[in-house]
């Protein structure tokens, strides 16, 4: 990979993260009342902590540049302020406790959805007009039109409440901590199943639609016609010529959609009471806990930028044309 490509992409990612932090700063100052009063409003904060915070953010100094610089320094050091709701705990601690459940749920869900979605889309596009295409594409469109939480509510209603096959909420059975590690793992997997299924089903639709149109487009390219002319079998054409090229736009679009996907998928956690960032968001919203909300926004947007950067690197590896 060319170092100029790498440099350009890294610079772009860092610049975007910088903009996000600035946006967060602006949002923070837009809030009703000054940050000072918001700190005062927080009854769970000790006087010392408040004074320390005032000094750190330089709230007695002008907004620009002093406060901005102080904010940037604090953010870079991982200091995101204190939560209103969670007894004055620091936002970083509150977030840290909630990252893993979300990461497991959406990490696994993304991977499963990408694998199955791309496979379904590729097959549908290849056998365009066939039975799998009709059913798969129709189903994908319906899933694409469903908010994630609606899928969750329906699955919850059928499999957890109706059939009692799965637990209705939470991540572990309460009071099950004295069993063996293996049992705890099984309990966790049992709780994970429905939320994971929801996320996967919710994402499969768009990936499949995306891959289908990408494969169809690629199959119309001249090099595929050439491959046909050489007398290659249709399976060989798909594997050696169409699929690798069809995957390229898919990689970019998956990364771009990530920001959109994360927001919608948050609601799945609410339906299943999964103790991750999604339920935290809703709790923070109800309590108007702005520092936590901003922490979540910062965390999620930076993750999306990093993921996009990763996709750019993968793209650079897959497609020699962009390595300039």
């Amino acid at each position: 990979m060319g170092s100029r490509y790498l440099l350009r992409k890294s610079f772009g990612a860092i610049f975007t993260i910088f903009l996000i932090v600035i946006l967060n700063f602006v949002l923070f100052r837009m809030m009703p009342g000054s940050p000072d009063r918001i700190l005062l409003r927080n009854p769970n904060l000790t006087t010392e902590a408040r004074t320390a915070a005032l000094e750190r953010w330089g709230l007695d100094k002008p907004l620009i540049p002093d406060q901005l610089v102080a904010y940037l320094q604090a953010t870079a050091a991982g200091d995101l302020g204190y939560s209103f709701k969670f007894h004055g705990e620091s936002v970083t601690d509150v977030l840290a406790g909630r990252i893993w459940p979300t990461l497991i749920l959406f990490g696994l869900g993304e991977i499963l959805a990408v694998i199955f979605g791309l496979a379904l889309g590729a097959y549908s596009g290849w056998k365009r007009g066939g039975a799998v295409d009709y059913i798969g594409n129709g189903l994908s469109l319906v899933l694409y039109s469903m908010p994630y939480f609606v899928i969750g509510i329906l699955l919850l209603g059928i499999f957890a409440i109706g059939l009692h096959w799965f637990p209705t909420s939470g991540m572990l059975t309460i009071g099950g901590s004295n069993t063996s590690t293996w049992d705890q793992f099984l309990d966790f997997a049992w709780h994970l199943f429905l939320p994971l299924l929801t996320v996967t089903i919710g994402l499969i639709g768009q990936y499949s639609i995306l891959m289908r149109s990408s494969v169809i487009e690629t199959l119309g390219e001249d090099y595929v016609t050439t491959a046909r002319g050489k007398g290659l079998t249709s399976g060989k054409i798909l594997r050696a010529h169409a699929l690798p090229n069809a995957l390229l736009p898919a990689v970019t679009l998956i990364a771009i959609n990530l920001g959109y996907v994360i927001g919608g998928a948050i609601t799945v956690e609410v339906v299943f009471n999964w103790p991750g960032l999604g339920t935290l968001t809703v709790q923070a919203l109800e309590a108007r806990d702005y520092p936590v909300l901003q922490g979540i926004f910062l965390l999620l947007s930076v993750s999306v930028v990093v993921a996009n950067f990763g996709a750019d690197l993968i793209y650079g590896r897959l497609d020699p044309r962009v390595r300039t």
Binding site: L27, L141, G263, G264
Partner: protein, 316 residues
């Protein structure tokens, strides 16, 4: 001027004839897409519900005017059962149509206006303006805009006060509309910009510039009409997306309980623990409506895209 001037009326007639002809040919091509036609039928049905919900189910029921027992299953009196306050679900769902579609419509208008304006200006003016606007656009494309909406909505609500009204519309609804608009114009701007770039190079734009037309005039009279096809197709797709976003925001608890959209009904069902109590009738009707409407928008949108933008049509 000594050249022969056609009478005004003849020009007008000719214009009308051409327009009718293009409408007719458009309709012929659109009618060949059964999925698009089905989508249109579904949308017409819901539009009628949205225009006159009171005609079908009477005025919106409140706690005071509720007509049934709490969480009553479907019966002949209440076809779709009742909610935890004894309100008729059919009544709520039909009135929810109006609110969901209305918010979706307003949010779409803002999104398209912003997106088209930024796309056309960026593409036509070019240079530094283009670089700057596209940087902003890419920023909004990468950003998890839904999460941004989640933060923006309560902040704006706290500033303006949730209870007040503007032009008889409750502020909560307006805030949702604005937030959806601000956070979803980016992809429209990208699409319109790329079309603008190609229209800009055509001969008639150069001629308009030669006879001294200003930038504003060219963008309004020459570029905009030639990007209209894309804008129309995009509007339909954005509409569906806006309804989805509104539903999700309301479900999270940012909706207006006094103007229940479908998402708000689902939020109420979630808070009342309807699913846990086995009250599926509370959840299924609004869900089905959401899926039907969004699916219809997607179908019509992609059909329009194929018909109006033939160059984008997939080769085989």
């Amino acid at each position: 001027m000594t050249t022969e001037v056609l009478p005004e009326a003849a020009i007008r007639n000719e214009r009308l004839r051409l327009r009718l002809k293009s409408i007719r040919s458009f309709w012929r091509r659109f009618a060949a897409r059964p999925d698009g036609v089905i989508g249109v039928v579904v949308l017409i049905f819901f539009s009628i519900l949205a225009i006159a919900p009171g005609f079908f189910v009477g005025p919106l029921q409140t706690v005071i005017t509720a007509t049934g027992l709490p969480l009553d299953p479907p019966s002949t009196a209440h076809w779709l059962g009742t909610d935890e306050l004894g309100r008729d679900i059919l009544n709520l769902t039909v009135h929810g149509t109006r609110i969901s579609m209305f918010i979706g419509l307003l949010a779409t208008v803002i999104t398209i206006l912003l997106g088209a304006m930024i796309g056309i200006v960026s593409g036509y003016v070019g240079g530094r303006t283009d670089t700057f606007l596209m940087r902003v656009t890419d920023f909004f494309l990468v950003l998890p805009t839904f999460v941004l909406a989640l933060i923006l909505a309560p902040i704006i609500l706290d500033i303006v006060g949730a209870g007040s009204e503007v032009f008889g519309i409750r502020v909560t609804l307006i805030v949702i509309v604005i937030v959806i608009g601000i956070t979803s114009w980016a992809s429209t701007a990208r699409i319109i910009r790329s079309q603008t770039l190609s229209v800009k190079e055509r001969a008639f734009v150069g001629r308009a510039r030669v006879i001294g037309s200003g930038g504003g005039h060219i963008m309004w009279r020459h570029i905009l009409p030639n990007t209209m096809n894309l804008i129309v197709a995009n509007t339909v797709l954005v509409f569906g997306g806006a309804i989805l976003t509104e539903t999700t925001l309301s479900f999270i608890g940012l909706g207006d309980p006094f103007a229940p959209s479908w998402g708000e009904i689902l939020n109420a069902a979630e808070s009342a623990g309807a699913m846990g109590l086995g009250a599926w009738w509370y959840v299924v009707p609004p869900s089905v409506c959401i899926v039907l409407v969004v699916l219809a928008f997607t179908l019509v949108g992609s059909a329009l895209d194929d018909v109006l933008n033939p160059r984008l049509r997939v080769r085989r």
